[in-house]
């Protein structure tokens, strides 16, 4: 078996001619480690009463709650916990030039105790800076914030946002108000000041202080929950546009992460059509919504929806302006991992380059490849 796997990986390397940027890699940020970075008051509270953080309402895929069954490191640790194994299993064989770390625990963003959420966010950031960033030049970090308190969030962005290895601010999609609401503006001011994109990653919908998984109420099963993620993300997208966030913060970039890709196309058509009809109700929205999408929004690719045929795939890619907006993501080490080699049908060279490298490089301010032409 070992020999077969070795052969397979070698073949994959030979096909990955150029390096890639992966915008969604989940490094493990275990609570027992995070605890060491918390102020004493919270460490004492945790000892007495536990973490009081909400967990998922649903099943997941894979093993170890959502992980690839083959992603447990040789030391027996949790998937995503071991940098050497992450390198040998994923970063090296798939020729990853840069990977954006997106952490593993967003539960503090569903806690109504905002000071506690702020302390955990800071602890996650400190842990990531100390244990991940700087250990491997390929890896870049996400600033966790207590998004349910935008002023504390801005404070955290100012605290760690100027670190050169922190390349974005990250929040869960589950939120007590849609992300265009002016309540969040202190976060966007700080993002703009530090030139950090604001990434909305699916998670925490229906959990803790966040509203139900859908406006129609809680769904029952995990596949159903996955199917509702685009609804929540769609609400955030419309909110960001119709609340005038991109008029107030024209340089702000927002990433819609892990809610799927191709649903965006008909949604933009609908947004544009309704804007033509109802523009005068929100006159601060100066352009058709699809134009804000193109100038201010990026979409992460995983989990990409296969289409019935390649012609339809090509059309859908065009319809979401993939050459400007799409970021390749693997979601390693999660069970629904999208392989850099097998997820997309053959793309023309220029489009491949945008999706697998340049869109992310432009967004995160990452340099060109060290070696043009790759390591074939």
């Amino acid at each position: 078996m070992e020999v077969t796997e070795g052969k397979q990986i070698k073949k994959q390397i030979s096909k990955t001619k150029r390096t890639i940027i992966d915008s969604d890699i989940h490094n493990y940020t275990p609570l027992e480690e995070i605890k060491k970075y918390l102020p004493r008051v919270y460490r004492d509270q945790i000892d007495l009463w536990g973490w009081r953080l909400p967990g998922s309402l649903y099943l997941n895929g894979g093993t170890n709650v959502g992980q690839r069954a083959d992603s447990i490191p040789p030391d027996g640790g949790f998937p995503g916990s071991n940098l050497d194994f992450m390198s040998s299993q994923y970063l090296d064989p798939f020729n990853v030039e840069y990977g954006i770390l997106t952490g593993s625990d967003y539960s503090c963003q569903a806690s109504p105790d905002v000071d506690y959420a702020a302390a955990i966010s800071s602890a996650i950031n400190e842990y990531t800076l100390e244990h991940w960033l700087g250990r491997d030049r390929r890896l870049k970090g996400s600033v966790f914030i207590p998004k349910q308190d935008p002023v504390l969030s801005a404070k955290e962005i100012h605290r760690v946002g100027s670190h050169s290895d922190m390349v974005q601010v990250i929040v869960a999609s589950g939120a007590d108000k849609p992300y265009g609401n002016r309540y969040y503006h202190p976060i966007y001011e700080a993002c703009v000041e530090h030139n950090l994109p604001f990434t909305i990653h699916v998670l925490m919908e229906g959990v803790g202080m966040n509203p139900p998984t859908t406006g129609a109420g809680w769904v029952s099963y995990y596949p159903e929950y996955r199917a509702t993620r685009p609804q929540v993300m769609a609400a955030h997208l419309a909110s960001l546009i119709y609340e005038g966030v991109f008029e107030k913060f024209p340089t702000l970039k927002v990433v819609l992460q892990e809610a799927g890709v191709f649903w965006v196309a008909p949604y933009l058509w609908k947004l544009d059509e309704d804007w033509k009809a109802l523009r005068f109700q929100t006159p601060w929205v100066k352009k058709p919504p699809s134009e804000y999408f193109r100038s201010n929004i990026k979409v992460s690719s995983q989990p990409l929806e296969p289409t019935p045929n390649q012609e339809m795939f090509r059309q859908m890619m065009n319809a979401v302006y993939a050459d400007e907006t799409l970021l390749y993501c693997s979601d390693y080490p999660h069970w629904d991992f999208d392989s850099p080699l097998k997820t997309f049908p053959k793309l023309d060279d220029a489009l491949w380059e945008r999706v697998f490298y340049q869109n992310a490089a432009d967004l995160y301010g990452l340099p060109a490849r060290k070696k043009q032409g790759g390591t074939e």
Binding site: E247, K276, F280, P283
Partner: protein
């Protein structure tokens, strides 16, 4: 081009409009600030009787929550899907390529009596 009599100028006060049939076409004649403008009474979107929509202003904004009223009385909002058209040009405000036909309007006076002025649309 043929001139069609719309009616007496006094029938269309400032801010008012009159819809007539001329040469088989329905046309709306508007009085904006004492000047007359005519547009075809058909929306280029889905064919609604455009001039039966409300005559209104262009609502602009300097930012979220702010409303600025501009071009008072110069905009017709289609009765069906609320698309906004400039009465002076027939063009959709946000997409000027979409337009309804506009026509020249003249006001002609045949004697010294102001009340007797007549409005003509030229098709």
């Amino acid at each position: 081009m043929t001139g069609f009599l719309v009616g007496k100028a006094s029938e269309i006060p400032e801010g008012g409009k009159k819809i007539i049939e001329a040469n088989g076409r329905s046309i709306g004649i508007y009085n904006i600030g004492g000047e007359f403008f005519a547009i075809r009474n058909t929306c280029p979107h889905q064919g609604a009787a455009l001039c039966s929509g409300i005559t209104t202003e262009f609502i602009n904004s300097t930012g979220p929550g702010n409303f600025v009223h501009e071009r008072e009385g110069e905009i017709v909002r289609c009765p069906w899907h609320q698309w906004e058209f400039e009465i002076k040009t027939g063009c959709m405000v946000v997409d000027p390529k979409k337009r309804t036909k506009s026509y020249e309007v003249t006001v002609e006076r045949f004697d010294v009596s102001v009340e007797d002025k007549e409005v003509y649309v030229h098709i």
